[in-house]
Symmetry: C2
Subunit: 336 residues, 2 copies
C-alpha cells in the first residue's frame, strides 16, 4: 500500500519531473522573478483577440516549451492532466483538443497545479502511463471578468485582494531521471474557516494549507526540518501571516523555511495588493524560480503546497462561505 | 504496464463497485426507470431553498444511501473523487467539505461519472487507496440558469436540445467482491466535430463517443461482440443515431447492443426533447437501472461510455466550436 497514514502517498518508484515550461504576462515579467520564466509576453492579450484565448495561448506555449526543452515529441505523451480557473475548465479542454492527448480534466482552483502533478505521479508510479504531461494556467483579465468585475469598470480593490497571475505552466512527469524527484504527495481535504469575503482569499485558504501541511508531516512522521522550503501557493501577504501563526499553534515552527508564491511573484511597488493568485501563481513560481534554485543547489528538498479557494460567485450570492483545499507534493533535488 | 494500447488500462487486481446510490428528481421519478432509483424527490427544490443547494442535497444523499447500502462508515473512505456541471464544481466541493473526505475534484462535463470512476479504480489498483468514493450530480434548474436562460423566462427549446437530469449518484470502489467488477477503462481524447449549436449537444458529442469506443476495441483487440451492452451517456435521440452510423462506418455493428442513457431515462411523452443529459444522466441510469439488470442476470458485461460536451457559454460568444470528450469503463457481472 502506497498510502501512508491517512492522506499521503509515498511513491514506490523514482518519479521525476523531466522538464517544465513557464510562460508569463507583462506584470510577472516586471516582477522580482522576471529572469526565471521561459517566455514573457509584454502585452496582456498575448497576440490573441480575447483574454480567454490569451490564456489558452499561455498554456499551449508552456507545453510546447516544456516538450522542446525535454526533447520529447507530442506523440510520446500518454496522458494529459490539466485544469484551470475559467468556467468549464475551458483553457485545459481546448488545449487538450489542439494537442490531441488523452485527457483527464481536474479542478482544484489554484491548487490545480499540484492536483494535476500528484495524479500524474500516480499514473507513472502505478504503471498506468509512461509519460504524463500536466499543465495549468490563469489570466488576470479573464479571471477578473469571470469572478469580479470587467476591468474596464475600474472598480477599486481591497488591500486584502489578490492579483491573478497571467501565465501558463507545464510539467512533464516520467521515470526518466532528472534533477527533480517526486517523493511523496498529500491530497487535501476541503476546509472551511467560515470566510465569506471574496476580496480576501488568503484568509479563506490559510486553514486548508495548514491542514494539509500538518497531515503531511503527521502521515510521514516527519517534522518541519525535513524540508529546506515549505511553500504555499497563493496565500499572499494576508494569508501567509495567518498560516504561519496557525502552523506555530500546531507545533510547526516553519520560520525562514516558509515561503508563499503569491508574495514572491510581485514587487511591493507593483500595486498587486496582497500578492499573486490564480492557478498560474504557484505553477510558474515553482516550475520557474524554485526549480532553478534546486538546479543551482540552493534548495535540496521542498514541499509545495498549492492552495485553492473553491470560490463561487453564485454561492456567495446565496450567503455561503468559501471552502478551500490544498494539495502538497514533496520534491527533492537529485545531483547528477 | 497496465496501459494497454494507447489509452486503455487493464486493471491488474479485481476492482469492484461495492455499492451505488442514486437519488433523482420528479421528472426522472415519472419516467420509465422510476423504480430503478434508491430515492426520488417529488419537488425540484428537494426541500432546499435554491436549485444549487438542491443539487448538493442530491449528491450528499446519494453518498449517504451508497454508504448505508454498503454498510461502510464515512471514516473508511480514503479518497473522494467527484465533479459536477456547476461552475467551479461547487456541488462536489461543498459535499467534500461536509463529508470531510480527502478530495480530488475532476471535470469532464457529463463524462465526469466515468472519469471519477476510472480514477477511483486506478487509485485502488495502484494501491494508493483501499476505498474510494466517487460521485456526480446535475440539476435541471441550476443547469438551465447557468448555461441557458432562467427557466422563469419560459424560453422555448429546440427539439435537438436535451433536458438536464436532476439527480445525484455515488459509487464505492474497492477490492471488496461485489456483483460488479471493473475490468478496463479508456480515457478519452477531446474531439471537436465542428458543432457550434448549444441547443444540439448530441451532435457535438457523438464523434467523441465514437473515438473512445473505437480506441477501446482497438487497444484491447476486441470487437463489439465482447459486450452485451455498449452504452453512451447522454447523446440523446439525435446524437445516438449519428453515433450508431459513425460506429458502422468504423466497422463496429453495435445494433441492438447499443443504448443511450439520455434516450432511456424519459418517456417520449415527457416533453424532454432529444432526451436526458447532465452529469447525473449516465450516472443514475448506470448505477440504478443497468446495475439492476446485471444483478438480475440480464446483462453479463457492458461498456459504459460517458459523454461530455465541454461547452462554455463564454467560448460560444467568441465563435468557438464545442469540443467533447468520452470516458469508458468496462464492467462485468460477477455471479455469487
Amino acid at each position: 500500500m502506497k498510502l501512508t497514514g491517512k492522506q499521503t502517498w509515498l511513491f514506490e518508484n523514482d518519479i521525476y519531473i523531466e522538464e517544465t515550461g513557464t510562460v508569463v504576462g507583462p506584470k510577472e515579467g516586471e516582477g522580482p522573478l522576471r529572469h526565471q520564466f521561459d517566455r514573457t509576453y509584454e502585452d496582456l492579450y498575448c497576440e490573441q483577440p480575447s483574454w480567454e484565448l490569451a490564456e489558452r495561448q499561455l498554456m499551449k506555449e508552456a507545453i510546447e516549451v516544456c516538450l522542446e526543452k525535454a526533447n520529447v515529441r507530442k506523440e510520446a505523451i500518454d496522458f494529459f492532466v490539466a485544469g484551470d480557473l475559467l468556467n468549464q475548465n475551458v483553457t485545459a479542454n481546448y488545449v487538450a483538443r489542439e494537442m490531441g492527448f488523452p485527457f483527464l480534466g481536474v479542478f482544484g482552483a489554484c491548487s490545480t497545479v499540484m492536483e494535476a502533478l500528484l495524479i500524474g505521479a500516480m499514473l507513472i508510479d502505478g504503471q498506468f502511463a509512461r509519460r504524463v504531461l500536466t499543465a495549468t494556467s490563469s489570466h488576470y483579465g479573464a479571471a477578473e471578468r469571470q469572478f469580479r468585475f470587467p476591468t474596464t469598470l475600474g472598480v477599486q480593490k481591497a488591500n486584502s485582494a489578490a492579483w491573478t497571475v497571467t501565465g501558463g505552466a507545464a510539467a512533464l512527469v516520467s521515470k526518466q531521471p532528472s534533477p527533480f524527484r517526486i517523493r511523496a504527495a498529500t491530497a487535501g481535504k476541503v476546509i472551511d474557516g467560515g470566510s465569506d469575503n471574496p476580496l480576501n482569499m488568503g484568509t479563506a485558504m490559510a486553514p486548508a494549507a495548514v491542514d494539509t501541511i500538518r497531515q503531511h508531516f503527521f502521515d510521514l512522521q516527519l517534522d518541519e526540518r525535513a524540508y529546506d522550503l515549505i511553500v504555499t501557493g497563493d496565500l499572499g501577504k494576508v494569508g501567509s501571516i495567518i498560516a504561519k501563526q496557525m502552523l506555530k499553534e500546531e507545533g510547526l515552527e516553519v520560520g525562514e523555511r516558509y515561503r508563499d508564491c503569491g508574495v514572491m511573484i510581485y514587487h511591493s511597488e507593483q500595486n498587486a495588493f496582497a500578492g499573486g493568485s490564480g492557478c498560474a501563481c504557484c505553477a510558474v513560481v515553482t516550475y520557474g524560480h524554485l526549480f532553478n534554485e534546486m538546479k543551482r543547489g540552493k534548495v535540496k528538498n521542498m514541499l509545495i503546497v498549492a492552495t485553492g479557494a473553491l470560490f463561487s460567485p453564485t454561492m456567495i450570492k446565496q450567503k455561503q462561505t468559501i471552502p478551500s483545499i490544498a494539495h502538497a507534493v514533496a520534491i527533492e533535488a537529485v545531483s547528477r
